[in-house]
């Protein structure tokens, strides 16, 4: 897996304790949704960033109160055709005003990177070698004219007032969030 934050390859500073494994006392830690909710009181006492791992098919219920305290939401993508995380990412940004890192992790093809960015994802943890290479070398070929507002609205240009208020443009070359 290769991790890209805003298009730059970086080392992962987060710890993802396995099931049954204790979380460390310091440093950023992300836990599966159910465990995060169950152990929230103990986690909250730590003076370090917290995150949640959302498995494919999971939703955000039960996290509403916690989200403002989180710095990372990792969305797991077992198969790239599973499009649920696009809606989860959009809800995080638009409904819950989540400002932390949204990480798409797993089976991401380069053809999806631009869509994920528009849905609010800003970090990619990709298994596919070709995708990693494309992100690294600026090889993402994507459409930059859009017919609908999405969740990275602040980063996109809007059409002149008066004409089709739903149009958006991404700057060229394609910025990875």
């Amino acid at each position: 897996m290769a991790l890209f934050r805003h298009g730059v390859r970086v080392a992962d500073d987060w710890t993802f304790p396995a099931e049954g494994e204790a979380f460390p006392d310091s440093g950023p830690v992300a836990l599966p949704r159910a465990r995060l909710i169950a152990e929230w009181t103990a986690l909250e006492a730590r003076n370090a960033p917290l995150g949640v791992v959302i498995a494919s098919g999971e939703k955000l219920d039960g996290l509403e109160a916690i989200l403002p305290r989180l710095s990372l939401v990792k969305l797991v993508i077992p198969r790239y055709a599973d499009g649920r995380l696009y809606s989860i990412a959009r809800l995080l940004r638009d409904r819950y005003s989540f400002a932390g890192e949204i990480r798409a992790s797993g089976d991401v093809l380069r053809d999806q990177v631009a869509l994920l960015v528009r849905a609010g994802v800003d970090t990619f943890d990709v298994a596919h070698e070709g995708t990693a290479r494309a992100i690294e070398t600026g090889g993402i070929v994507a459409v930059t004219h859009h017919y609908q507002p999405a969740s990275n609205d602040a980063a996109e240009a809007h059409a002149a007032p008066g004409a089709r208020p739903w149009l958006r443009r991404t700057p060229v070359p394609f910025p990875l969030a």
Binding site: G57, K59, Y80, A81, D82, G83, R84, Y86, S87, I88, R90, D94, R95, L109, D111, Q112, A114, L115, L116, R118, A119, G130, V141, A142, V143, T144, H145, H146, Y147, Q148, P149, A150, D153, H158, A159, G162, A163, R164, P165, W166, L167
Partner: protein
Amino acid sequence: MYRYDEFDHAFVNERVAEFSDQVARRLSGELTEDQFKPLRLMNGVYLQLHAYMLRIAIPYGTLSSRQMRRLAHIARTYDRDYGHFTTRQNLQFNWIRLADMPAILKELAEVEMHAIQTSGNCIRNVTADHFAGAAADEVGDPRPYAEILRQWSSIHPEFTYLPRKFKLAVTGAPNDRAAIQVHDIGLELKRNAKGEIGFAVFVGGGQGRTPMVAKRIRDFLPEADLLTYCEAILRVYNLDGRRDNKYKARIKILVHEMGEDEMRQAVEREFAAIGRTALTLPAEEIARIQSYFAPPVLATLPAHSDVLDKAKAADPELARFLRRNLHAHRTPGYGILTVSLKPTGLPPGDATSAQMDVIADIAERYSADEIRVSHEQNLVLPWVCLDDIPAVYAALKRAGLATPNAGLVTDIIACPGLDYCALANARSIPVAQRISERFAALDRQEEIGELKLKISGCINACGHHHVGHIGILGVDRKGEEFYQITLGGSGDETTSIGEIVGRGFSSDEVVDAVETVVETYLKIRTSPAEKFLDAYRRVGEAPFREALYADA
């Protein structure tokens, strides 16, 4: 018609570049066929039994003459000199080389066309009433809204990897010619008590192996909320639609499993939570899109045409053509003409490049440069002056395009079937051809009256057999093609799913079986005014079953 501006051109050109890059990666071997498949499907490229097939989007079935000529040119240059008009008002080319795709897409982009989202698990080409804007019974033209929906759904970042494909249809008239109740979302343009324009919203209709009639979840949605409400429906579906079984992944199954009320509440909750955004349509912007679809400048004429009356009196064949293929127009002195793509014995929906050119010429001269594709796989000339009809008819006739059978038993919808399709269990086209030959006698067809016959070569129901007055479904029985017959289906405002009458028929028997059904109807109808569907709804399947299986 809608015209691209700079933004629209740039969008399509970028998409062509993106897809050309994907094709290049496939041809170089960087992408495996498995990896390429979802990417090519998103751009309408299928791998069929014999070759790649390209499905070109014809948004809400509206084409200019220039666009039709370009399709003819592509058929001539890159395919086998013909194209196939589909039940989604699209056009398919069946013999395209993968290496030619980028060139074809470039040719299409030049005339404001593309193949975006004509396949794949995304929002497909939005369809509409093929008489839109011209029909006498219309509340409003559905096409501006279909165009707004087309734009919103194009490469929608959230809804490109849905559980399954998603189809929208819009009708502007209470007489539903767009089959909205068998769509994932069906929209009926209407006015409320205050006279404001909005939509009745239907969700969860569909055909395939589990046919369902859509549920009306909103009686009146203000036009400004069209996109927000659709976004809410799609979000509920994207999050909660089943992904464990592709046969249960359409929204109809979600609606069925949640129940109509819970679905309605889920959508309304999401709709309220989204609130007012840039998706809320300003009235002046709707008006601006509507101005593209303003009717052409038409002459002020009497409702009656002496020229046409005289020609009709002199030519019984013309009179017959008009009885079936001329439809009421909103403007006095004008008519809507159906150009049948169902001549006796030929595959339904096919047109040669020469025929496409002829239709383009006729439309340019006589129909305000505009052609429609109907979901019944015919073409439509929506703006024909009644005085011009004799000339139009003569030109159509010369090109083999004046078959006077619109709405009759030989106006058959058929999927490509086993002759082309990798999914099919049985052939559809040859059955359609044999039925068309059996009922070729025009007096007899007229005597039978309105009868919608639809044929699918497998349970995916691309030939819409579930909503055929007579439906034929091809199945595979131990390696042999068999055909089940369903009766009483309908895709209009009284939508119903046809019922299977009994065991299937072999390929040799099926045409006789259809004839038996038709003869039974002729015997039981109260008068020639009682149409097949009405008679079936009155008496049920019993007399038909008896006639079909009397010997068994």
